[in-house]
Symmetry: C2
Subunit: 406 residues, 2 copies
Amino acid sequence: MVTTEKHPLDGLYSKRGRNISPPRVGDPSQSAAMISFIYGFPDPDSLPAASVADAAVRALESNGKWALQYGATMGAKPLVDVLLEKLKRDQGIDAKPENVMITAGGSQAVGLIIDLFVDWDDMVLMEAPTWMGFIWGLKNVGAKMQAIPMEPDGMDLTALRSTLEELRADGVTPKMIYIIPNFQNPTGISMSLAKRKELIEIAHEFGTIIFEDDAYHDLRFSGEKIPSIYSLDPYGLTIYTATFSKTMGAGMRLGWLVAPKEVIQHLGVLKIDGGTNVFGSYVAAEWIPENLPEHLTTLREIYHRRKVLMIDALGKHMPEGTTWTDPDGGFFVWVTLPEGLDTLELLPRAREMGIEYMPGGSCYPDGGGENQLRLSYSFASDEQIEPGIEILATLVKGELMESASK
Amino acid sequence: MVTTEKHPLDGLYSKRGRNISPPRVGDPSQSAAMISFIYGFPDPDSLPAASVADAAVRALESNGKWALQYGATMGAKPLVDVLLEKLKRDQGIDAKPENVMITAGGSQAVGLIIDLFVDWDDMVLMEAPTWMGFIWGLKNVGAKMQAIPMEPDGMDLTALRSTLEELRADGVTPKMIYIIPNFQNPTGISMSLAKRKELIEIAHEFGTIIFEDDAYHDLRFSGEKIPSIYSLDPYGLTIYTATFSKTMGAGMRLGWLVAPKEVIQHLGVLKIDGGTNVFGSYVAAEWIPENLPEHLTTLREIYHRRKVLMIDALGKHMPEGTTWTDPDGGFFVWVTLPEGLDTLELLPRAREMGIEYMPGGSCYPDGGGENQLRLSYSFASDEQIEPGIEILATLVKGELMESASK
């Protein structure tokens, strides 16, 4: 928690500094003490420590002078080369070197795009609910946010259009529409092909950008792959970001942006960092070609199995009136409890009972989601999933009985 | 270069985005083609690739689950522990965990401090000349800058005081005074103890912060160590940053901040990055205790030798009317050529002749330094230094003859 005592520096803070709200950031080692469904942390037991160690030794042997030196702002060349190949093969994105930038995870990509486009009081649209990291980033820069409801096939585009029309009537052009198209964080929902195409036309019509966050792209375990918005967009209005955090390992802190050349050039000026994770980039460039495809197969099996365990456990244990999503990939199931329950209020009791989840309210920029929660099946082990859901069900049932007897 | 063609996104950029100037960032692999005195890149041949490889293997064996996972915003605990010990031993700074934050090199530290304190049009004071990365960072956020002249023992504090008085008369409190106290970038000058103490009193009197960038602290090869401003400051007005970039290796992208607890807490909210270079942090935590002290001894020998080679070569070859500094550590010698020469204009010719240097004008936020240049003796080899200076001298002499004959 941020303390409330006054400090002599208080008067010197910037608007961003004065606007600060309490930090809400998790430390994974603290979650290890319980059955943790709270964060989007990758499965700890499948992290490829041995093959990364081999890759580190090879990278330092063959390229030690460059791996330990400052690097190019746009990204270390060996990793850019590996990324361009991967984008073509996996994402169906045929990018040139001038269209990509290596970033410190998806987080730096998001931070850079916010700084490049969003001024204080600017409007940004996003899915409701959405990834809380994006909400925090926008709050830090004083942005206004309007969240558009989700449907089972992605954002409600009728609602999007009418929001855009209302904003246009007020003279407001939103700086971007933020979309997580595959196995969305937190709902697990994927946007349909038809909606992706329609979204592009809407962005074009209203003169705004689509910021496509495809963090979970590589983790589809069922259903058909759907082309990225970036690859469908004929207007050059889409900025694409994704990451190696959910696949090679979040500790590598390696993600990337794909965007029109001019955007990448602008970011090259804002990004003053001596090169992103140069050492990690050389290790990743060594690791990815030999290891990523096979490792993805393993991960898809693990997360598919965990998802099935979780969906089965929810069906078996949760009380009537509870609903949940059933994703084709990624890390998350989104649960809606009966009206009147408050998942933020219930969280301390859940932790006492040995589990934790993400309260739904964190995923809305403007209220709502009190009776909802996000469950991640990525971090808890196979063996923990059903017992954890049983605890959740016990908690919810107890709460329902209590409120019925009031 | 940023292209000038219009892009459909142009109307959407933020103030930061619209304010963009051409990128001025170096790629070290391009400098390897000539005798390069331009950047503050560490000596490539002494980068500890083999021992870092060993440390990577050990870190992944013992801590693979955490080294490849998301990390704590404030920094991976093993590295924070190692840093606190190092700060006490080397820097004489007795900090608590809540006073430190691990950052992606000094660059992320600088970016965070700028975001926490500096709004558009805010005033920041710094040494003239200063590190151009700091100037770029401030330009990106639309800050106003006033640079205070350097004397042989550091910033001219009489000039600082009169600038602060003028600003006060205009109702302006500068957000910070940026100081590189040891072997300053670019002049190589160290601030005297008396001036450090007086600077603290001035900051206190005028209600502003000292941002102390001690990137070169560990590379003193002659003269007596001078206590850091942070350790001398009784008011808690100093924020200290330094880095492992110049010692373990810039490619690690690991630096840190030491600051009052409240500042670190605020930064913990602005810093949304899933943890800084988690993998690299675990490797560094493994490498530093066993390797850093001995490696520093080696580096001090190398840079001392190179500095002597450069100073000797300057004395032997440069024409009369040229002066230069003689640093006790760090990477840089600052050269002043006779009036009328323009080092920016001369740079393309220098490159044709096989050398490069940093034109002095880049190191001033508000003009000046046309006849000055920064020479780094860190990146070129022992054997390259005298031949490189000979080329510089030939270039300068030729230019002087040409302008004399006009």
